[in-house]
């Protein structure tokens, strides 16, 4: 806001400024044009959520139908179901993810072996760089009916094969497991950096005072990680309406048997685009996600600014 007010005050100065710094403006131009074209030009297109979209008439030529798309989504229960799933999954990812990351960071800080430390850190971070398509391959490799590894094991133990791809209940756990698998190393490194930042003198003083290792972890390390934890949690909550489309789509794909418990906002929007060609309905869900998402980020940022101004995003 301040920026805009200042800009308005300086009014005609911008012309003089461009003349003076022609090269700088030219250097910035490609990126600014990029954002104008691919982001700002798209924003008015969210209007498609309020029309009965007809591809030949275009977004602004289609008939305006107000909130009918939203009404339909509420009535069918779709909106509630995908919102609930998105929130629950993200909440579990955040809570369980952060706890595991903190525990592993503390453990890694405690052990002495330099070699072990380095190797573990590298291995745990590796899943972060793998495409979710490969995660889908892993799932297929382990869980498919006729040749999956788990079924191989079941058969060799004399048990029956299990049809994972027609049991929606079990995918909740598989999705969470793969999410934790892929994000632990990254989060752990963030927390480890916070631990490394703690002044070593404090630990030495505690040691001299006879504090046990457990006491040092419990009363020193963990409290000092609290600010980092709260910040990551808050920003995570700010993005809680955004789903991990990559992960869900590659694990579930177009297997509609599994939708009831695995459909999130992002997969729903995607399907309305490629499956049903119901652009307006998908756009309505997308619009709902963007608006509430923005409100959440603003709220979270407001809270962060109150408790720790330096960490606020803006």
């Amino acid at each position: 806001m301040q920026v805009i007010a200042r800009l308005r005050r300086s009014g005609g100065n911008i012309v003089r400024e461009v003349g003076k710094n022609k090269i700088l403006f030219l250097m910035l131009a490609p990126v600014i044009l990029y954002f104008l074209l691919f982001h700002y030009l798209v924003m008015p297109g969210a209007y498609v959520a309020f029309v009965d979209f007809n591809i030949s008439k275009g977004i602004f030529g289609s008939d305006f139908i107000g909130l009918q798309n939203f009404e339909f989504l509420v009535k069918t229960g779709d909106l509630w179901n995908i919102t609930k799933n998105t929130l629950l999954y993200n909440f579990v990812f955040l809570a369980l993810g952060n706890v595991i990351q903190i525990v592993f960071a503390v453990m890694l800080a405690e052990i002495a072996g330099k070699w072990f430390k380095k190797i573990t850190q590298s291995i745990l971070l590796l899943p972060h760089f793998i495409s979710m398509v490969i995660v889908g391959v892993f799932a297929y490799n382990m869980f498919n009916f006729s040749s999956g590894f788990v079924n191989t094991m079941l058969v060799s133990l004399g048990l029956d094969r299990y049809e994972f791809y027609s049991d929606p209940g079990i995918w909740k756990y598989i999705i969470v497991a793969f999410k934790i698998w892929s994000m632990t190393g990254y989060g752990m490194i963030v927390y480890l950096a916070a631990i490394t930042g703690i002044n070593n003198d404090l630990y030495e003083a505690a040691y001299i005072d006879g504090a046990s290792r457990w006491q040092r972890i419990r009363y020193m390390t963990l409290p000092m990680l609290k600010p980092t934890f709260i910040l990551l949690l808050l920003f995570g909550l700010g993005g809680i309406l955004k789903g991990s489309f990559d992960l869900f789509y590659n694990l579930i794909g177009t297997n509609s048997v599994l939708y009831p418990q695995t459909d999130i906002i992002d997969t729903y929007v995607f399907r309305s685009l490629v499956g049903q060609f119901n652009f307006s309905m998908g756009a309505a869900v997308g619009f709902y996600q963007s608006v509430f998402g923005l409100a959440l980020v603003l709220t979270v940022n407001y809270i962060v600014r109150k408790i720790e101004p330096d960490s606020a995003l803006f």
Binding site: F104, S122, L124, I134, G136, F145, F149, S212, R213, Q289
Partner: protein, 301 residues
């Protein structure tokens, strides 16, 4: 004295337990991280007959290179997918780095009056987006990008996060360098190209690696926009291959598929190995750049 001794003794036993638990937990999780890779690799070397009779195994009874032979001999489809991915990775990363480093340089120049305004303009796009559907309509109906390789590059060539990372990296370069170059009569572009770029090589490597990784792992825009199989990027090519059988597996529930001579099951895993291979091979060398990007980016964008 007695108390201190007791404390030390106490310290020793808890320390030992904490260390032991730490080694066990971290070691177990590390194995869990590696397990899917190991399973994928050994599955790709399995004899097709064994997969059909018994399923994928971590330690197969037989060893076969047939899947790889098939892939290399009939490589036209896979080869094209590789070509597409290499093309978008090289072109996308090069263009992205050039544009983003210029933007980062300008936004870091303290004498550039509107840097806060433009920073906000870029930043706001991370908070609010028009959404998938309007973007799709723009790309297909107005920009006519359907089935174009540019549809794989343009949506991700520039990232707000990377621009700010670039700007923050440039903050570390002392202003005096810029001042002395100006006195020597160098223009803005020349200062950027000849003074700042050589000093920014580590940060260019970090951001370039992230960007290249993103393009290498690209499948999503391929799925949205690409129709001609010859233009599928590698990961999308792989995804289609796996998904086709997912459906088949559902239909033929319990029925053993007549595989004839084609190693269809091992070939899937072999393709996945070839698609992941370059990342795993480069990972040990690239890791430190990734980590420096992660820790800087995590604190503040």
């Amino acid at each position: 004295m007695a108390r201190t001794a007791a404390a030390t003794l106490h310290e020793d036993s808890t320390t030992r337990i904490i260390k032991l638990v730490s080694y066990v937990c971290l070691g177990a999780f590390a194995l869990a991280c590696l397990f899917p890779f190991a399973l994928m690799i050994s599955s790709s070397f399995m004899n097709e007959q064994e997969i059909l009779l018994e399923g994928y195994k971590l330690i197969p009874n037989t060893f076969s290179l047939k899947a790889y032979e098939m892939l290399l001999n009939n490589s036209s489809a896979l080869g094209k997918a590789y070509g597409v991915t290499i093309f978008i990775t090289v072109v996308g990363t090069a263009f992205g780095l050039f544009m983003m480093s210029m933007a980062g340089y300008v936004l870091n120049r303290k004498d550039f009056k509107y840097r806060n305004f433009f920073s906000f303009l870029i930043y706001f796009t991370t908070l609010f987006s028009g959404g998938l559907i309007p973007t799709y309509i723009l790309m297909v109906k107005y920009l006519h990008m359907k089935d174009s390789l540019f549809a794989l590059i343009l949506p991700t060539v520039v990232a707000a996060w990377s621009i700010f990372l670039m700007r923050n990296f440039m903050k570390a370069i002392p202003d005096s360098l810029y001042e002395s170059a100006t006195i020597d009569g160098a223009g803005d572009f020349r200062i950027y190209w000849q003074v700042f770029m050589p000093l920014a090589v580590p940060s260019l490597a970090t951001i370039g690696l992230f960007s290249a990784l993103g393009f290498w792992n690209e499948w999503y825009h391929g799925m949205l926009y690409i129709q001609t199989p010859d233009k599928y990027p590698l990961q999308y090519f792989l995804q289609r291959m796996i998904n086709q059988t997912n459906i088949q597996a559902l239909i033929n529930q319990g029925v053993v598929i007549d595989a004839a001579a084609l190693p269809t099951q091992s070939i899937k895993m072999a393709t996945a190995v070839l698609a992941t291979g370059p990342i795993i091979l480069l990972y040990p060398f690239a890791q430190r750049y990734f980590v420096s990007g992660l820790t800087i980016g995590a604190v503040k964008g």
